[in-house]
Amino acid sequence: MQAAGGSALWHAQKWETDEIEGRTLDDGRVILKATVSTSRSGNYLSEITVPQVASEGVYKGTAWALSHFSGPRIKYSTEREEALRDARMMEDADWRTLYPHPQLAGTEEIAGRMCYRVVLSDDRTEWFDQTNGLLMRRQSSEISSEGRQPTGFTVEEWGTFAVPGGALSIPVKMLAWRGDLEYRLSVLSAAFNKPVSLQYPAEVADYLAASRAGKALPNAETIIERHIYESGGPEAYGNLRTQQVSGSLTFLSTSQEAHVETWAAEGGRYYQSIDVPGLGKQEEGSDGHVAWERSPALGPRVKARKGQAGLSVTLDAAAVIGWRFLIDEVRTEAAERIDDHDCYRVRLAPRDGSPAIIRWYDRKTGLLYRASAALSSTMGTVPVVMTFEEYRDTGGFRWPVKTRMTFSGQSVLFTTAEVKINEPVAAAVFDLPDEVRQLAEKKSAGTL
């Protein structure tokens, strides 16, 4: 603290506004651009322009977020605590109050410099340069949809800013990380004691008022994250390696029953077989490179899209926990009763421009009850409604035993017979059939 300007000078600062930018390490692409303003009264406002226009902050103890992505949101529990901690950036000078039991835990070399390692709390460790006394590294963690993940930075350069009565030093170039993502964080400008309003926007104020009156719908991100948590949790999804699901598919208008076998494994590999009486075996799969379908009626074909086109009974872990990468905008539209279930209706606009997906989440269980989407293939786009019923604990997940599917006037019911999670699956299951391989070769040679 002394080396960065001294406690007295830091205590004299009431506001700090930093313009920050994050770039990828490989190609220098800008992945974060924001203006962060903090006050000593514990309020803060972050106005983000990259990766998308959004803002978040803390005002009078209310932690909030507002984005084009999901609209206004109030943060609660752990997420709120983290926001409050972030809002105390200017209170580093009061570190004795914030971290009453610091422990010197030894020395370590960081980027060629010997440092003291100081454990401030269970969740925060800092390293200080033995020579100049400045902060060298900070290690903490934060909760995200992938679970708790490490976050922190190593200081690469300090900058000095003149303020009345002296000069303050702050890190201006850092190697930062958040989970597996490493990036270079720069402070492009810093201003002290320049008063700014840190009040939340009117949209958040309206939402907060509705929330306090019990009339606000929960933010869609919260609803989706709750489903992820209730259906197994981000860790279980993250550890999902193989799945084997078998069951029966009943065509409700004809009472025909088809046997279904599905295998899925890491690397986008899957194979599904549905043996329909009178139609034969309908297969689809992917070896991770070539996606295909085959049926007696239509023969083999190579698909442009890698995802499954029809009944998908396995979990796509990457799509579940990485749902934000696939979605451009999400909103909670209504609280409504579907069948006997009180649900929240959530609209998701996919990033690929395909029609909006509507989902209904059970308010009581937090689990997805129904989804309405459009399945696209070379044959066209078909609206599909899927209803997930009778969730049961299976291999660390809450798994719907029954999935009802309605499309193009037809209704089918998939009943799960057996689910095996993370058991060995023979790699040969995902091999391309010979005629699919022939087609794929023709396609890549441009002779099809």
Partner: protein
């Protein structure tokens, strides 16, 4: 599952009429008939591809028909009343399949005319049991000849077509005889076309329900026959047959011989009614790739050849065979 089958069902109804005397209905059977009538009426209202329902006042038709259904004294009378109501739509693929057609019969329930080969009995969805016959041979001039009587049982039929097409790889042409073929599973048209089209991204036509449009896309097979292809049609060739023939004609891939097809090409479904009957109803319209509506119009042959009563000669096959010969030696 979607059936694009021309109704074999009038025939079924005819058989039912001659098999037994109309039995008096019980009160419970009458109630089931009323329930079945309501199902039919609502299904047409909600699913018919023409939301205008041929310009009919469908509610008025309901109100006029229901008393007739309530008064019907036999299953046959009920079916006649429903048949009258469905006829007002002036569209194919609307029919009642009598419940007794679903009873498994130890004997051949419906012999296929002129089929010395018994073929295979198959059942699909809510269709009654059907007999599927497949034939392939090499004609004296070397052309390959393939014939099958229904677009059903793809797991058995498609490998036979594949094997035949493969065996005809060096033949001067292939004749696909679809005379008398009333259709069946619609997507089989795309699958059969894939044996004769080697370019990706082409389609036979498109099917439109009230909410969706589905392209009948052709998926080329790994091994495709690219020589001359003749398709034979007659007035009994319907539905899936017309979708295949009309599409390949539009694409310039097949030359059509025979007489104009039935013009009954509305994709349909079959459901079972509360009284045990089956009900076939059109749920989509269909246009060929050139934009032609096949329903009511049929496929017009490139070469019109009338059938002959002479069993020793088949002028339609002969005309197609001559064309293949001329294509080889123009």
């Amino acid at each position: 599952m979607r059936i694009a089958s021309a109704p074999v069902l009038a025939l079924c109804l005819g058989m039912a009429l001659v098999c037994r005397l109309p039995a008096q209905l019980t009160a419970e059977e009458k109630a089931k008939n009323v329930e079945s009538f309501e199902t039919i009426w609502q299904t047409i209202r909600d699913q018919n591809p023409d939301p205008r329902l041929n310009g009919l006042d469908w509610q008025a038709i309901h109100d006029a028909t229901r008393p007739l259904v309530e008064r019907a004294q036999s299953a046959d009378e009920f079916r006649q009343v429903i048949g009258g109501m469905l006829a007002k739509l002036e569209a194919s693929h609307h029919a009642i399949i009598p419940a007794d057609r679903y009873q498994p019969s130890p004997q051949d329930p419906m012999p296929v005319a002129d089929e010395p080969d018994a073929g295979t009995l198959v059942r699909f969805g809510n269709l009654p049991e059907m007999r599927v016959v497949f034939e392939s041979r090499t004609l004296p001039g070397g052309a390959g000849y393939i014939r099958f009587n229904e677009f059903l049982d793809p797991a058995a039929i498609m490998p036979k077509i594949q094997a035949a097409v493969k065996s005809f790889a060096k033949a001067p042409g292939i004749i696909l005889d679809l005379r008398g073929n009333p259709g069946g599973i619609g997507i089989m048209a795309m699958g059969v076309a894939g044996f004769f089209i080697d370019k990706d991204g082409l389609k036979l036509g498109e099917m439109k329900t009230r909410t969706t449009t589905l392209n009948f896309v052709i998926f080329p097979r790994p091994e495709v026959y690219s020589g001359p292809l003749a398709i034979l049609l007659d007035r009994y060739s319907a539905s899936t047959t017309e979708i295949l023939a009309g599409g390949l004609q539009d694409l310039g891939r097949a030359r059509i011989f025979g007489t104009r097809s039935a013009g009954a090409a509305l994709p349909s479904d079959i459901i079972r009614l509360p009284n045990g009957d089956g009900f076939q109803y059109a749920r989509a319209s269909y246009t060929s790739v050139s934009g032609k509506t096949l329903e009511g119009n049929g496929v017009t042959p490139d070469v019109v050849v009338e059938e002959s009563a002479d069993r020793e000669h088949d002028p339609v096959i002969e005309a197609a065979d001559r064309w293949i010969g001329s294509a080889l030696h123009p």
